[in-house]
């Protein structure tokens, strides 16, 4: 059995130190590394003036269009070269297109046994009338899982880069608000009235596209993009305060977390039961009905939620650096 050890010894153990370092309690370089205070650098006025003068000289010589022969020649050459480049590119592309096999020919390289398998057995295997959805959310569901995670990771990266956590004091905040009010006029009554009409329709259309993903063209990605665009429109018209009543950072976190983990668990389950992605144990139902095709509908909803949240999160992060 393990013996109790004194606290001093416990603190020196590498695992404890690692945990403390991860938790941010200690800095392992604090007393072992030699550091020097940075000295205040004085700007060299003479050098700066010289640089500025040089820059002015260069600019005046380059942009002296009347006397600069190279510049004139370059302008003429640029015009000719752009036309020649465009024509060459067009000719190349047209030549390449003319060598492509005709659309829909039986001996095209793309019409092999994979496509035939999807078209023949897709409906029976997945229960989805829309073969594309059956492919991306059933045969190749792990690929789509990776895509959803890419969206989430992209949001995380933008969050790391653009997040502004600084607490502003009141005067600064007011000045910023006034500036924003001036350059980005809010409370535009025309925009608000139209948003009042369009926002519910846009969101309902997005939900329709998501829910019908396995029956008609559409699915999680396109429907989620529509809902995200609706959210951005709402934020533009009514401001972030109103939107924050139903969509905050916490909502974003929970929606992303629940969708991604549900997707992961659902597809891990079908992986676990034979790795063929097909027999999930959930009845496929009648093809063409909304509640059919097993796991595809919930997975579509998950993907749609993640995409909508990502679009809105990008917008709000780039706009003001936080939710």
């Amino acid at each position: 059995m393990s013996k109790p050890i004194p606290e001093e010894e416990y603190r020196k153990k590498p695992l404890t130190r690692l945990l403390q370092w991860v938790g941010g309690e200690i800095d392992p370089f604090l007393e072992t590394m030699e550091t020097q205070k940075q000295q205040n650098q004085k700007p060299n006025e003479r050098l700066i003036r010289k640089h500025r003068r040089d820059l002015d000289t260069v600019i005046s010589m380059v942009h002296d269009q009347k006397h600069n022969k190279v510049y004139k020649l370059f302008r003429r050459f640029y015009k000719v070269a752009s036309v020649v480049c465009c024509l060459a590119l067009i000719a190349m592309l047209l030549t390449a297109v003319s060598y492509l096999p005709p659309v829909g020919a039986a001996d095209n390289p793309s019409s092999n046994e994979v496509a035939a398998k999807y078209i023949e057995d897709g409906l029976q295997d997945t229960g989805a009338v829309n073969i594309v959805t059956g492919m991306i959310l059933d045969y190749r569901a792990f690929d789509t899982f990776g895509e959803s995670n890419v969206l989430f990771i992209a949001t995380c990266t933008v969050l790391i880069l653009l997040r502004s956590d600084k607490k502003k004091d009141k005067r600064q905040e007011e000045a910023e608000q006034r500036r924003e009010q001036h350059y980005e006029p809010k409370d535009d009554s025309i925009l608000q009235r139209i948003t009042f009409l369009l926002f519910p329709i846009i969101v309902i259309y997005g939900i329709y596209v998501i829910l019908n993903g396995h029956i008609s063209p559409g699915g999680g990605f396109s429907g989620g993009a529509i809902i995200g665009a609706g959210l951005i429109l709402y934020a533009n018209a009514f401001g972030f305060e109103k939107l924050n009543r139903f969509f905050t950072e916490k909502t974003y976190k929970w929606i992303s977390f629940v969708s991604l983990s549900f997707y992961c668990l659902a597809k891990s389950y079908s992986f676990f039961t034979g790795a063929n992605h097909l027999e999930s144990g959930i009845p496929l139902g009648e093809a063409g009905a909304i509640l059919s095709s097993g796991l595809i509908l919930p997975l579509n909803i998950c993907v749609g939620l993640v995409v909508a949240c990502t679009m809105y999160a990008f917008y709000t992060l780039f706009r003001k650096g936080g939710f």
Partner: protein, 116 residues
């Protein structure tokens, strides 16, 4: 009956061609003009009138069915959305451009605060 079909076809194709002509004008205007309000005017013309006329032509060609209804909804959506976006662009231009008077006539009695 044959005559009616021909009239329908001709009017549909005619409207489609008019719409495409308006789109050409829009493209030409967007690249020809330099000032933002002029370009916005040209672009908005294609988004409303051009798409309205071409989709009406397509509706006539398609007949009275669900596809026509969807096209009508597209027209309604775009006629709601496009003028509003043009309005926002022009408002931003009026608010932010300090040399507005160089480009267009301003009513003289209008003060700084009354512009927005």
């Amino acid at each position: 009956m044959q005559m009616l079909e021909w009239i329908r076809f001709a009017s549909g194709v005619g409207l489609l061609l008019i719409g495409l002509g308006i789109f050409m004008l829009q493209l030409f205007g967007v690249f020809k003009f330099k000032y933002v309000l002029n370009r916005m005017h040209a672009a908005a013309m294609g988004d409303t009138l051009g798409i309205g006329v071409s989709l009406t032509g397509l509706m006539i060609l398609s007949g009275f069915n669900l596809v026509s209804l969807k096209m009508a909804l597209i027209i309604v959506f775009l006629w709601l959305a496009s003028p509003v976006s043009s309005h926002l662009i022009s408002r931003l231009e009026v608010v932010t451009n300090e040399h507005l008077a160089e480009h267009c006539e301003l009513p003289e009695h209008l003060g700084e605060d009354e512009l927005f």
